[in-house]
Amino acid sequence: MVARFATPLVLLVLIVGVFFAVDSSFILRVAALVFIYGLAAIGLNILVGDCGQVSLGHAGFLGIGAYATAVLPAQTGLHPLLAMVVGVVAAGLLALLVGRPVLRLRGHALAVATLGLGILVAMVITNEAWLTGGPDGMRVERLTLFGWRVRGADNWYWITAGVLLLGALVACSIKASPTGRALRAVHDSEVAAMVAGIDVARYKTLAFVISAVYAGVAGGLLALYDGFVTPDVAGFLNSIELITMVVLGGMGSVLGAVVGATILTALPQLLTAFSEYEHMVLGLIMMVVMIVLRAGIVPSLLALVGRGGRA
């Protein structure tokens, strides 16, 4: 019981706490961005941390969600929210379609295959300029809900926070369910999982689809929040950032994914004053954290606290 609600509760406290502690719309905007990427990282963590399958192309799904939300209202007049739903479904369907053949691969072969997949999506977005505006990107229609134009840092803060909480709750529920156990079994020993009756290919694909849906939602939110999309959202560097969030924060930890997303999203925003050194600081943090806290920030710290508590 506790396992399902602890992390969403911690997040809820943090979200409410931050809102009342800070009085800066800049920080609220950064926080909304953190929540969006946190959502994508939570989803990717189900694939990478729980099921043990790497994806170096996950930003492709982010791009599908974002561009569906941008393109469909512009081309067909569809409501942005419905367009986002179409994008999420498209991301999930693509994952379902390519999941089985791609996830037959293991280790580095899987890494390069997902990498290629992400690059293909990014290339289509970049090159089909008649639809997507090409490398320069395109504007996204502002979100209007029942005649209310969604705007302002406060509103976006709460919208993105709400979706993040829902995403965390779902992820924690999966984790504590037979499905989550089957995914972790696939991670630890595929052959033992098979012998226990688990259809390994099916569960790998399931994790892939779930993580793609999370990424699609995050992509759609990103488009609506930014009001503008560029192909970078689907690019290789964004894919690398997503996987780094997961590993840095701690594979298999829902809270860790949010911590990783916070570091990788907020840090560059806060370092813009020192843009010269932004990359150096980021690279250094990645190296030092991974050397010192190999299992990722949250699991490593929990282990430390646990040991201290017992001693």
């Binding site: 504590a176 369910s177 499905t179 009756g197 688990i198």
Partner: protein
């Protein structure tokens, strides 16, 4: 009808005939042992029988049905389970969770219900935990149920694998060197467990190097050497077979 049958089963690895033309059948219950010197192909044969490898030649039958090349999860659904010589434990889980995975086929798998914290799922989980605890009790691991599997001793992990296989209520159980690395007391407990399971109507196929255990437990012994069957029969007959003595030259059979 036989529980498990191999008909001319064989497989090659890089031109080497690892297993060649192996045929045998097991009774619907009781213990069949597969023995042979190191490298005789016992584990490779197990991997083909349990669907981990696809046989290059021949057929495998489970309760009369042709199951050649079926993946392990389908065979599991047909009532076949196994343990591993090189432990295949879910090391990031507790002992209890390991056994709960074994009960995968007994659980409801409607993914949609697992997306939200539904009380119905809580109740099912509680029942699954109880079933797993009971199985751990059977193999004497009730005390360590909530410990991480990675913290358990080797002999305990061997029994954990058996509990994980048993919780699925299989009709055929393949045990790959269950006594390896166990001390005399543990081996004795294991023999008792196997005898009891066979008595309950399970068909057990056993790969084992502990000859005393093999001879005392088995209803039937199949001897492999260099990928081929060189003897097949009752323990006493096999023990007396000159071909078996030659294959085990210098080893007391």
């Amino acid at each position: 009808m036989s529980a498990l049958a191999a008909e001319g089963v064989g497989i090659d690895f890089g031109g080497v005939r690892a297993v060649d033309n192996v045929s045998f059948t097991t009774a619907e219950h009781g213990v069949t042992a597969i023995i042979g010197p190191n490298g005789a192909g016992k584990t490779t044969l197990f991997n083909m029988l349990s669907g981990v490898y696809r046989p290059g030649r021949g057929r495998v039958r489970l309760f009369g049905e042709d199951v050649t090349g079926e993946p392990p999860h389908r065979l599991a659904a047909r009532g076949l389970s196994r343990t591993f010589q090189n432990l295949q434990i879910f090391f990031q889980m507790t002992a209890l969770e390991n056994v709960m995975v074994g009960n995968h086929l007994g659980e409801r798998h409607n993914v949609w219900r697992h997306l939200l914290p539904l009380p119905g799922v809580f109740a099912e989980e509680k029942a699954a935990r109880q079933a797993a605890r009971k199985e751990l009790q059977h193999v004497g691991l009730a005390d360590v149920a909530d410990r991480p599997a990675s913290s358990l001793a080797y002999g305990m992990l061997k029994r954990l694998e058996i509990a994980r296989a048993l919780v699925a209520k299989p009709r055929v159980l393949l045990l790959d060197e269950p006594a390896a690395g166990c001390n005399a007391t543990e081996t004795e407990a294991l023999s008792a467990l196997i005898r009891r399971l066979a008595g309950e109507g399970l068909a057990i196929v056993l790969v084992e190097h502990d000859m005393a255990m093999v001879m005392s437990l088995s209803d039937r012994v199949v001897v492999l050497d260099q990928g081929r069957v060189i003897a097949d029969g009752a323990p006493e007959a096999v023990r007396a077979d000159p071909a078996v003595r030659a294959a085990y030259l210098g080893v007391e059979v």
